[in-house]
Structure formats: structure tokens, C-alpha cells
């Protein structure tokens, strides 16, 4: 039945699209914009307009019908308002840095798309939270406070408490403080792990590309073998073993985890840096350096590495997201960052039962979404910045 409705709507929209184009042609005296518009594009315009109208209608639906809260409308409003606030903040952020800073940074911000400005802003905010977590967070991450299960929002009528603006978890720890400390733990550990993965994968990849021969074969086949094993399951297996070795020391488990994820992810970095390196190593300037009698270190670090910055930096951004999500997933599965350290993955897992209350208590159901949202926001931000850097570096090659 639903399929039938969708089909009817689609056919209706195609009709409207044709009408839209012919009206446009007639109204503008056959302007090239309407004249050369393919049917697909006309359909796209009509579909987009329809979706915008539907969204506006949904946005202004009442929050409460006969005492039953409309959770969907509430969440939709939060999403739209959040989007608007972030977009405005990014715009202001970009505007400020177009007029403040060095000549170079001003020029950079002038040609920057809004998405990249948003990404940089979020990364800076996260970095500040991560570095100064101890000063910013109102409570400690392990501090068990009086009231458990305080609903976020700080409105006593709905079960909130202004002292804990984002509420507390099942054993009464402040969620806002734990989110801020989570930035330190999750993001900090992900950053260290990614750096390590790049150090291992990058140096071996360039070595394989430059020297070739049996070393390249050995390294590449080892990497192939490692990549054949599903990453998350492999990490799970290794961490289980490492936990047995580490005994009761929780920080030792964390260090083992950093090394395990770094090695698994370094296989991906190896593949990329070897491919990039192979493209660079055939260049005439490398041949000129070889014929000059330069050593391996000079070739790799002075001649090759500067030309590989753009793809490696872009990969760093993506890899950081993957590592970060792997750690969050491992924490969610209970083997990652160990309690009582605050970690976003663990927080999502611990608070996940609340999602069942979404129908009748949307504020309570928002608790697990806060940590998940923190993860999503950083991932999106990093990807925006990476996209922008890739675009910039490909533009430079022209």
C-alpha cells in the first residue's frame, strides 16, 4: 500500500516538473536556464521544493497532542535549530578570522567554504575541551553525585535539575562533565593511535616504494594477510588476549589497545603511502637526486615526503575518524577504554536503554544521543576539513 502511495507521489511530481519547466520557459521567454534544463534536473527542483514545504509544515506541528508528547517533532526541531545555530556560528567564526590573524590565515579564510570553517571550528572547540577538561568540567568524571537518572534540559517540571544541565546517569554522575572528559580520553587516545599508525605505516610504505624488491614483497604480502582479517573482530581478539596479559592494570590495557589499533590501521596507511610513494619515486627529480648520490633518508624525507603531504594529511583525517569510531565501538562492546574513565562509546552503551522511552519521554531518551551526537559531530567536522584540503591540494596541481 505504501509503495503505491510513493509511486503516485512520484508520478505526480514528474507531472509538476514538466509543468514547472514549461511555465518557466513561457514566463522567461525561453531563457537558456529553462530551455536547456534536463527533465531530471527539473524533477530535482520540484522534489527539493516539496521536501522544504513538508519540513516547514512538520517543524510547526504542535509538540503536544492531547497530552501525548510528539517526540518526532521535538527531535526534528532540535536537529533544525542545531543545524541553524552551527551554521550561524561557523559563519561568524569565518567572518572573524577573515579580519583577525596573519596575512596568510586571512587569505585562507577568505576562500574557505562554510563547511570547512564549521569543521575547523568544531575541531578547535573539541581540542580546547580535551586539553582543559579538568578546568571546564563542573564535576569530576568519576564523581558520584546525589541524584541518579536526572533528565537533561534542567527543567524541574520535566524531571531535570539546573545543577546538572545535561542530566546524570544511572549511578548519578554528571553527563556534561563526563562528555567533556570523554573528549580528553576518546579523542586524545584516538589521536595518539592515529599518529602511531601513520608513523609505522607511512615509514614502511615509503621504504617499500623506494627500495622495492623482496622488502616490498615481504611487507606488502604481510599487510595483505593482515587486511584479510576483519579489523574489528581482529582487534577484539587481540585485546581479549592483551587483557589477560595485563591482569588488573586498566591503563596497561589502554596502552595495549593503542598499539593493537595502530598496527591494524597502519596496514591501510601502508597501502596508501606505498601507492603515493610509487608515483613520486618515478619522477625525474628523484632520479636526479639518486644520481647526485643522495642517501635513503634524504630521498624519503626531503624529496618524497613534502610531495605526499596532501594525500597523507587527507588520509590522516579519515583514519582519525575510523580509529576514533573503532575505539568507541570497542568501548561499546566493553573492551576499550575501561571504567571509571569517561568515554563516549561506553556512555552510549550504558545509557542505551533510555532510547526505549523515546515515545513518551523524549527528554529522557535524549541522554544516550548526547554522546552519540558528540561522536557524529566530530566525524562530520573532520571529514569536512579533509574534503576541503583534498580539494585545495588537487587545485594546486593544475
Amino acid at each position: 500500500m505504501t509503495i503505491l502511495y510513493v509511486l503516485i507521489a512520484a508520478i505526480l511530481l514528474i507531472g509538476v516538473a514538466f509543468a514547472f519547466r514549461s511555465v518557466g520557459k513561457a514566463a522567461t521567454g525561453n531563457a537558456p536556464f529553462f530551455r536547456d534544463m534536463p527533465t531530471g534536473v527539473a524533477y530535482g527542483y520540484v522534489l527539493a521544493a516539496t521536501l522544504i514545504v513538508l519540513s516547514i509544515w512538520y517543524f510547526f506541528k504542535p509538540l503536544d497532542i492531547d497530552g501525548v508528547p510528539q517526540a518526532g517533532v521535538l527531535f526534528f526541531r532540535w536537529a533544525v535549530i542545531g543545524f541553524a545555530i552551527f551554521a550561524a556560528a561557523a559563519f561568524v567564526f569565518r567572518l572573524i578570522f577573515r579580519h583577525v590573524g596573519t596575512e596568510g590565515s586571512k587569505k585562507l579564510f577568505r576562500s574557505m567554504p562554510l563547511t570547512a570553517a564549521f569543521g575547523i571550528m568544531i575541531i578547535i572547540i573539541y581540542a580546547i575541551f580535551a586539553v582543559f577538561a579538568g578546568f571546564i568540567a563542573p564535576y569530576g568524571q568519576e564523581e558520584v553525585l546525589g541524584a541518579a537518572n536526572v533528565v537533561p534540559g534542567g527543567n524541574p517540571a520535566l524531571g531535570g535539575n539546573p545543577d546538572y544541565p545535561l542530566g546524570t546517569d544511572q549511578i548519578g554522575r554528571d553527563i556534561l562533565s563526563r562528555l567533556i572528559f570523554g573528549a580528553q580520553n576518546t579523542v586524545g587516545i584516538a589521536f595518539v593511535t592515529t599518529c602511531l599508525a601513520f608513523f609505522i605505516g607511512g615509514s614502511l610504505g615509503f621504504l617499500a616504494a623506494t627500495l622495492g624488491g623482496w622488502l616490498d614483497q615481504l611487507l606488502s604480502r604481510t599487510v595483505d594477510a593482515l587486511m584479510a582479517i576483519p579489523a574489528l573482530i581482529f582487534a577484539l581478539l587481540l585485546i581479549t588476549i592483551a587483557t589477560a596479559w595485563a591482569g588488573s592494570s586498566s591503563w596497561l590495557v589502554t596502552i595495549y589497545m593503542i598499539f593493537i589499533i595502530a598496527i591494524i590501521d597502519s596496514t591501510r596507511v601502508f597501502r596508501l603511502s606505498r601507492a603515493v610513494g610509487l608515483n613520486i619515486v618515478v619522477m625525474d627529480y628523484i632520479e636526479a637526486a639518486k644520481l647526485r648520490g643522495e642517501g635513503l633518508g634524504y630521498l624519503v624525507f626531503r624529496e618524497m615526503l613534502p610531495n605526499a603531504y596532501a594525500p597523507l594529511l587527507a588520509e590522516f583525517g579519515l583514519r582519525f575518524c575510523f580509529v576514533f569510531l573503532t575505539i568507541a565501538s570497542l568501548s561499546f562492546l566493553g573492551v576499550g577504554i575501561q571504567p571509571p574513565l569517561a568515554d563516549w562509546g561506553t556512555m552510549v552503551r550504558d545509557l542505551s536503554p533510555f532510547i526505549n522511552y523515546a515515545q513518551f519521554a523524549p527528554y529522557a531518551a535524549a541522554t544516550p544521543l548526547l554522546a552519540a551526537g558528540a561522536i557524529a559531530l566530530l566525524t562530520v567536522a573532520v571529514n569536512f576539513v579533509v574534503d576541503w584540503m583534498l580539494h585545495k591540494s588537487s587545485g594546486l596541481k593544475e
Binding site: 536547456d36 576562500s111 639518486k290 647526485r292 648520490g293 613534502p306
Partner: protein
């Protein structure tokens, strides 16, 4: 119906960079009648290709036609609707790109790509256009016309692909074909074949053509009239013979004069003196296949030895043997009478320093992330041990030697230089090692003629000042004539002839040398006709090479 096919009036084209629109073409007019061929000539960046594409009503991404009209047979292509243009392009206007190898889809057979146009435009059925394609292949004198269309692009040689592409452009019997440098990437012997085929077929079907090239001699053979462009402006236009015999503008005259540069001859070598570089009976192989067979020649102090041959003849491989990148299987290389280790990794710093190299593509020869100061400074520091202020002074002196202002260029990146300037930096990097011997691998073939002449003059000047010896690898015989003292002709990894330049350019020649020499286009519009008459239509290009 008038005779006029294409009429371009006040064409202005702009390109977008750094958020603003900058002019590329500043108002060019062009008239073309049915069956007429116009040659567009100019340096790179003159806007030749942009005009070529604009005459199809098309612009590249980030480029727009801001003013003017392009009227093709009564239809203004600038304002025409997408549907109207679709009907014209491919069927009445066709395009032949510079690199056929990059323009064919490697996943489809030639004939399948050939039949696509006629079937799309409902000109003929698939089987009709297929048999027509075979007929066109025959007329373009492709070998095995019945069978060649059923191959994939990678199974066909570059010259043949270029002709297959011309056949494809002909498939709908268009009124206008735009040739964008169709022979620039080909060897001279192959080029003749393609030129002859293109000219024949254009004449047979009375097709009008816009022929874009930077090679004056080529355009002299192909075009009825020539238009000279400079930085988006028209310099002058006249019919071919007038243009060649009596150009009116200074710029055109300077273009015409480029080919006259020739360095005075050097005295002959004193017999018995030790050569700087001596290649002794070198046989070298890639894998198990020998690509060089018993190559021997000497290079004496202060002299230039040009190594000439088609691509694949082993010129660059010989250079790789001398530098030690490819250790020879048999034979060795001597430097000042001393035998060099075969592998460059076994040579010491002094031996590496004595022989330097300048590359064909300055773009890949300079590290794009290093400033000019770093690029030239590295060999200064590495070989001469100079640091800090002394290094900077030495680099400055080198920059002056290659005629670039030191303070202006020291901190620039290669991307901020023109092609000719980049090539000069390559020369400075080689000079920085203070070598006795430099290998120049096709150093001017990627450059415009005026710029190339500047590089040749610079190399000649440096040779006189510093007593350098050059090994000059090239396929361009004009360059050989301009700069060399001795010539080595190579074919299929074998030296077919060698000797003093004066002797080499005088008959009698080895038949292959003769073929090479006579294949170089000359500025005489009758050159191709005379040559075809002398050789016979079936005995040009690859066919002639194969018969040897």
C-alpha cells in the same frame, strides 16, 4: 546558400581564476568557407585550442564565452539550445584531439566507437557505418583496414590511432573538422603519414578544417590560410604562401626566423686525444630483451654529440647506461680514459659529479615543493660543501649565468615559473655540480620554438664559457643542425651512422638517415607534395621504415 560555413565575430572568452574572470581571447574574428583549411598558429597559451573548442560552441570548465558570436551555417552556437547543439556536434562538426591514445575509450573496440556517432545521429545504420568505417580506414591507408577496427586502442600504434580518430571524425561526413595538434606527439616519420592522410581525406570530401598547431612547417603543408595568434589576440591572417613569403608583423617574422639559429662549427678533434666520455661496445637489456646492441661512440671536450632517432630507438637507454641507472650487460663507459663502475650506486661522489643530466619534462624534473634556491643549492652544498651565505652567493651566480634575476627567483616555487624558466633552472642545477659533461635529454621538445631557441643559445654560450661537453638526445633534426658538432643516428638500439655534422647533412647517407632527414617538414608549402611524389604514396612513414 552561401559559401560561408563558419563566421566568428568579436569572440571574447574569459577564464575563472582566483574568484575573478580574466580574459583569454580578446575579440577574434574568423571566416571559413566550405572546403577551406585554416591554420591557427601561436605559442602555448595563445588561445589556439580555446578558439578551436569555441568554434563548436563549447568551452572547458571554468571558461565562458563572454561576448561575440560563432555562426555555423546560420546557427549561432553561442546562444543555441543544448538540443540544437547536440544535433550539430558529431554529425556536422567533428573534433580530432591531440592525443588519440587518451581520447579513445580503452574499453571499446575502434569500430564500435566509430559507429557510435552515425547511429546516434541517425545518419546510417550500424552495419552501414561499419562498412563505411572500413572504407575510411582504407582511404587513410591504415594497414589491414578490414581487421584493424576490431582491435582495442592499446593494440594499435600512436600514428594509426591518430588516423583512426580522423576516420571517426569523418564518419558522419561533417562539414567542419577541428584538428587540435594531431601530430605533435608523433615521430617525424609517422607524422608524414598522418599529414598526408588527413590532407587527402579533407580534399576528397571537401571538408572545411581548422588546423591548430605550433609547428609552422606542418601548417604550411595543410592550410589554405594561416592566422597567427599571440596571447588571445590576432596578430595577422593571410593565405599560406603570402604569409610564408611576406609576413607583415614583427612577431610573425620572429617566429619565422627561429629556425635559422645555427652555432658556428667547432674545429675538428685532435686525433689521439682522450675523449671525455667514451661508450665502449655497450649492449644493454630490460629484463631478458636486449634493447641496445654494441653501441660505441666518443664525446670529446667542448663538443656536442647529438644522438638522433625515433622513439624506441634506444637514445634514452644509452643515456641511462652512461649515468649507470641501467648497468650494461656487455661493455662499459669510460670517463677521461678511466672505466666507470657500471652501477651508479658503486660510483663515488666525484664520478657522479662529473656527469650531470638535464631532463625533457622540466615539470617532473624539479621537485614542486622546493624553492629554486633549495633545488640549485642542494648540489652546491652536497658537492662543494658551501653553506649559508656562501651557498646563497653561489646560487645567485648560477642564476645570473642562466639569465634569471637572483633576488627575484631565489624563493620561488617551480609552479610560479614558465616552461622555459623551469628548463633554465634544470640547467642551473646541472651546472651547480661544476661538471665536465652534461646529458641533455630532449630538453627543448616540450617548449615553444622561441623559448627553445633561447635555451639552445644559452647552452651554446655555456659550452663556450665553461668548456662543457654535451650529449644531446633529440628527435628534432632542426635542433641537431643548430647545436651539434657530431651526430649519432640510432635505430632499434643500433648505431646506423655517425660522424661530423657537416658530413651527415651531405649525401650520401645511410638510407635510414636519409629517410629521417627528408621527413622533417620544411616551410615550403609544396614540400609534402614533392616528397610524396618522390617516395610514392605507399612508401611513406612506417611503411618505408619497415622496408629497410
Amino acid at each position: 546558400m552561401s559559401d560561408q560555413l563558419l563566421k566568428i565575430r568579436g569572440l571574447k572568452i574569459e577564464g575563472r581564476s582566483d574568484e575573478t574572470w580574466n580574459p583569454i581571447i580578446n575579440g577574434v574574428d574568423l571566416d571559413l568557407n566550405k572546403g577551406e583549411v585554416i591554420g591557427l598558429i601561436g605559442e602555448s597559451g595563445a588561445g589556439k585550442s580555446t578558439i578551436g573548442l569555441a568554434s563548436m560552441g563549447f568551452t572547458r570548465d571554468g571558461v565562458r564565452i563572454s561576448e561575440g558570436s560563432v555562426v555555423f551555417d546560420g546557427v549561432d552556437l553561442v546562444t543555441a539550445s543544448a538540443a540544437d547543439k547536440r544535433a550539430l556536434l558529431g554529425s556536422r562538426i567533428a573534433y580530432v584531439a591531440q592525443s588519440a591514445a587518451a581520447s579513445f575509450n580503452p574499453a571499446h573496440k575502434l569500430i564500435d566507437q566509430h559507429t557510435e556517432g552515425p547511429t546516434q545521429h541517425n545518419v546510417s545504420s550500424r552495419s552501414e557505418s561499419q562498412s563505411d568505417g572500413i572504407e575510411l580506414y582504407r582511404r587513410l591507408r591504415l594497414p589491414n583496414p578490414e581487421e584493424i577496427g576490431f582491435r582495442y586502442p592499446h593494440q594499435v600504434s600512436g600514428g594509426q590511432l591518430q588516423r583512426a580518430m580522423t576516420a571517426m571524425a569523418m564518419a558522419c561526413r561533417p562539414d567542419l573538422i577541428i584538428f587540435d595538434e594531431p601530430t605533435t606527439a608523433l615521430d617525424v616519420t609517422t607524422q608524414i603519414e598522418v599529414l598526408a592522410s588527413i590532407r587527402d581525406i579533407v580534399e576528397q570530401f571537401d571538408t572545411a578544417a581548422i588546423y591548430i598547431t605550433h609547428d609552422l612547417a606542418v601548417v604550411a603543408q595543410m592550410a589554405d590560410k594561416i592566422k597567427v595568434l599571440l596571447k588571445g589576440d590576432e596578430v595577422e591572417e593571410a593565405d599560406t604562401r603570402t604569409m610564408l613569403s611576406a609576413p607583415t608583423q614583427e612577431y610573425t617574422k620572429s617566429l619565422w626566423a627561429v629556425r635559422s639559429f645555427e652555432r658556428p662549427a667547432k674545429p675538428a678533434v685532435i686525433s689521439g686525444s682522450t675523449p671525455v666520455v667514451s661508450v665502449k661496445n655497450v649492449t644493454a637489456a630490460y629484463g631478458t630483451v636486449d634493447v641496445l646492441h654494441d653501441v660505441s661512440f666518443d664525446i670529446h671536450e667542448g663538443r656536442t654529440v647529438a644522438v638522433v632517432g625515433e622513439s624506441g630507438s634506444g637514445k634514452s637507454t644509452t643515456a641511462r647506461c652512461i649515468t649507470g641507472l641501467l648497468p650494461p650487460r656487455i661493455g662499459h663507459v669510460e670517463f677521461d680514459g678511466q672505466q666507470l663502475p657500471l652501477d651508479y650506486r658503486k660510483r663515488d661522489k666525484m664520478q657522479l659529479r662529473q656527469a650531470q643530466m638535464i631532463y625533457q619534462m622540466a615539470d617532473t624534473a624539479l621537485n614542486p615543493r622546493k624553492t629554486i634556491g633549495e633545488t640549485i643549492g642542494r648540489p652546491v652544498e652536497f658537492y662543494l660543501g658551501l653553506k649559508g651565505r656562501e651557498k646563497r652567493k653561489k646560487v645567485g651566480a648560477l642564476l645570473e649565468e642562466i639569465e634569471l634575476e637572483p633576488t627575484q627567483y631565489y624563493d620561488r616555487l617551480p609552479s610560479e615559473l614558465s616552461g622555459g624558466q623551469k628548463q633554465r633552472i634544470g640547467i642551473a642545477r646541472a651546472l651547480a655540480a661544476e661538471p665536465k659533461f652534461i646529458i641533455c635529454d630532449e630538453v627543448t621538445s616540450a617548449l615553444d620554438q622561441l623559448v627553445a631557441e633561447g635555451i639552445l643559445k644559452l647552452l651554446a654560450k655555456l659550452q663556450d664559457q665553461l668548456g662543457l661537453s654535451y650529449m644531446f638526445i633529440t628527435h628534432d633534426l632542426a635542433t641537431v643542425k643548430a647545436i651539434s658538432d657530431e651526430v649519432v643516428v640510432m635505430k632499434d638500439g643500433v648505431v646506423v651512422e655517425q660522424g661530423e655534422k657537416a658530413d651527415m647533412f651531405q649525401p650520401p647517407h645511410h638510407p635510414y638517415t636519409d629517410l629521417l632527414l627528408s621527413s622533417v617538414p620544411e616551410m615550403d608549402p609544396d614540400w609534402l607534395d614533392n616528397l610524396l611524389e618522390a617516395r610514392g604514396v605507399d612508401n611513406i612513414g612506417d611503411a618505408a621504415v619497415d622496408k629497410m
